[in-house]
């Protein structure tokens, strides 16, 4: 009997110790009371410095009539303080698919509205191509270029960058495919899937093509270009019948060898023009290190064998592979760190919601808020760009709807636009992401936290759940301003004054809080 009693006491004591240990482990020193939905902000723990927000001008900017009301409205909406204040302008160096009307009659299905659909205009005059000369010589000859052929797109970029109150700070020129005259297939996509469509003998010609555009934008237009991105999503197939858009597949070794050449071309350009234009690498289509077609690490590893890799401090990736996966992002970051330490930072340079049907409600916007949160918090992205800024059809790939080609077409923001504004309008280049999250959060409640130079804190607070959440704000913050995007609010100011210590995040909302001590 006595033995049994001692045994029972021992068991009870062990249980208490175990439970106590679990309770101690669960206690968060930054949430001392263990409150639910407690906004944790640790300003002392700094992560990446933000380098802007942007969108791509691919496929639609060439349809914006120069000098039109549409141009003004679009520029204001996207790249001004009166809009959402994007700072990254991504100009598409087309491969010339418009010359042979490649994409408007297939791939786009019912979305076809006019010949420019997904066809890109090139400044290179194909008729001038001299077969007696090498491709490199042809593409190096400035007489073979007529930039008025892409006047709309270039003028729209100029408008965005020079308009009053412009927020454009970074211009990146990017190419999806080399010019079709340089490719194996003679088209801006492969004859078959995974065809390496740029032959090695045309690497220099492609460099000349890109440099010709860079030279025009810098020297003729007088705009500051930060980087040229020569390759886009190299691991994708980009070939076969019914290819819906320009694209070029590269094997890792091909990509690395091309960059080796292009790096020298850019170096020469910079030396000649006193500029510091960077080589943007490499717009990976994903960051999936374990998916067999991901291959992101293989491309990086191939580049690492060249000297120019020493100068690479940023890699651009797209969030398409696993857009809502924390694990995929963390695996990628973990592997990069193991191989290259803290040398490499990441920019997220493209994503869109690839679903048909224009979602004018909050569903797609809440998805976007989740992607942005994870890209900043788990991928440690320094910059974040959406794919096409405008969409003209029944598809979720734009942030504003606008009928392409119209002089006075209405510019209709989607909720994605406003949610992007929850970030881009308040988080500036140079702001630093700090440790911050919602502790003991209700389902769908999360936050991304930044610190500004003046010491104020920007919190992008999302509640993707179907119940409102009372989020407790640390008492150290006495002032609170809030801008809400939800089903019935478009980045609307909803609070400005003393902080009561609790902020109620409505169900299905994204709110930017500015907190001050």
């Amino acid at each position: 009997m006595k033995k049994k009693l001692i045994f029972a006491i021992c068991i009870a004591f062990s249980l208490c110790i175990t439970l106590g240990a679990f309770a101690a482990c669960d206690k968060n020193p930054l949430n001392p009371d263990g409150s639910e939905n407690y906004l944790v902000v640790d300003e002392s723990k700094e992560y990446q410095t933000v380098n802007g927000f942007g969108a791509s001008a691919a496929w639609w900017a060439q349809t914006v009539p120069a000098g039109s009301q549409s141009a003004t409205d679009l520029a204001t909406s996207l790249y001004s303080e009166d809009g959402i204040g994007l700072s990254i302008y991504r100009y598409n160096i087309g491969g010339g698919s418009w010359d042979y009307n490649a994409y408007n009659d297939h791939g786009a299905g019912d979305f076809v509205v006019f010949p420019e659909y997904r066809n890109t205009r090139s400044a290179f005059i194909a008729e001038n191509y001299d077969e007696s000369l090498s491709a490199e010589e042809n593409f190096a000859d400035v007489a073979n270029y007529d930039f008025s052929r892409d006047e709309n797109a270039l003028e729209f970029m100029r408008l965005c960058a020079t308009q009053e109150g412009s927020t454009v700070e970074r211009i990146i020129l990017f190419a999806n495919s080399p010019h079709y005259l340089l490719t194996v297939s003679g088209k801006t996509n492969g004859d078959y899937a995974y065809q390496s469509n740029l032959p090695a003998e045309n690497y220099k010609a492609h460099c000349e093509y890109l440099i010709a555009y860079l030279d025009y934008v810098v020297n003729d237009m007088g705009l500051n270009v930060e980087a040229v991105s020569a390759i886009n999503e190299p691991q994708h197939s980009w070939g076969g019948e019914n290819s819906p858009q320009e694209g070029c597949h590269y094997e890792p070794e091909e990509l690395a060898a091309f960059y080796d050449l292009f790096y020298d071309y850019l170096g020469e350009f910079n030396e000649k023009n006193g500029t510091s234009v960077k080589m943007d690498v490499f717009e990976s289509g994903n960051y999936d290190v374990y998916k067999s077609k991901g291959r992101v690490m293989e491309y990086i590893y191939a580049m690492s064998k060249y000297d120019y890799f020493e100068e690479i401090d940023t890699i651009s990736v797209h969030s398409y592979g696993s857009p809502t996966s924390v694990e995929a992002r963390e695996s990628f970051v973990y592997m990069l760190r193991n191989l290259y330490g803290d040398k490499i930072s990441l920019e997220m340079s493209e994503i869109c919601d690839m679903t048909a049907g224009l979602d004018e409600g909050m569903d797609s916007a809440l998805w976007l808020s989740e992607v942005m949160n994870k890209d900043f918090c788990n991928l440690n992205a320094t910059a974040w760009s959406w794919w096409m800024a405008t969409s003209c059809d029944d598809y979720n790939d734009g942030i504003v709807s606008w009928m392409w080609g119209t002089e006075n077409g209405e510019v209709t923001p989607t909720k994605r636009y406003w949610v992007m504004g929850n970030y881009s309008r308040f988080v500036d280049r140079g702001d630093v992401r700090v440790e911050g999250y919602v502790d003991k959060a209700s389902d769908g409640v999360f936050a991304t936290v930044f610190k500004k130079a003046d010491g104020s804190i920007v919190v992008v607070l999302s509640n993707t759940g179907d119940k409102s959440a009372d989020v407790i704000i640390p008492s150290v913050y006495t002032s609170l301003q809030a801008w809400e995007t939800s089903a019935d609010k478009d980045l609307e100011k909803v609070a400005d004054g003393n902080c009561s210590g609790v902020y109620t995040a409505p169900a299905g909302s994204v709110t930017t809080l500015i907190l001050k001590k």
């Binding site: 690490m297 694990e327 963390e330 191989l339």
Partner: protein
């Protein structure tokens, strides 16, 4: 209690069968969890790796040999005609093969890359995931239990036969008398 179980042939065999099945079930379940991964990040389940390698890498190399041929030989050995309770020996061999395969899962995963890239992934931190280690250990334990079950079956069968011979001998003596 345990002594009673081990003394009764039916109880012992039942106990070993249930224990082996439980371990095998957990091991099999874990085979669908991440088999390779990294610290805190993503991973790939074992069945997917095996599938991918079989599709992508149908060529001879040492790792594939270890990963597939040895288990295959084990499986072949498992159908050798044991006199009694051969099904348990077969299960033991199969589970042993599975355990070995799971232990080699990282190497299997890396077979699809050339040496240079495989080394890069090793340095990048790809490792055998904890669920795979547990699955392999459980599979081997299950294999051992199946082996014991088979041996116990043989032992009891031999003992029973001896008893039969003895009793038959006794009866014959009585008849002679």
């Amino acid at each position: 209690m345990l002594k009673k179980v081990f003394e009764k042939p039916t109880c012992l065999q039942l106990f070993l069968s249930v224990a082996a099945s439980c371990f095998a079930l957990v091991a099999f379940g874990l085979f669908f969890a991440d088999a390779v991964g990294d610290k805190g990040g993503d991973g790939l389940p074992g069945f997917k790796i095996a599938f991918d390698v079989m599709i992508d890498g149908l060529h001879f190399n040492a790792r594939a040999f270890i990963a597939y041929l040895i288990p295959l030989l084990c499986a072949a050995a498992a159908i050798l005609p044991f006199k009694d309770k051969k099904v348990y020996f077969a299960a033991a061999f199969l589970l042993l093969a599975a355990g070995v395969t799971i232990f080699f899962m990282k190497e299997i995963y890396l077979t699809k890359y050339d040496k240079d890239l495989a080394d890069m992934y090793r340095r990048a931190g790809v490792s055998l995931a904890t669920p795979a280690i547990v699955a392999a250990v459980f599979s081997l334990i299950s294999s051992a239990l199946c082996l014991l079950r088979g041996l116990a079956g043989v032992r009891f069968a031999v003992a029973a036969k001896k008893e039969e011979v003895v009793s038959e001998g006794g009866e014959a003596k009585e008849e002679n008398v």
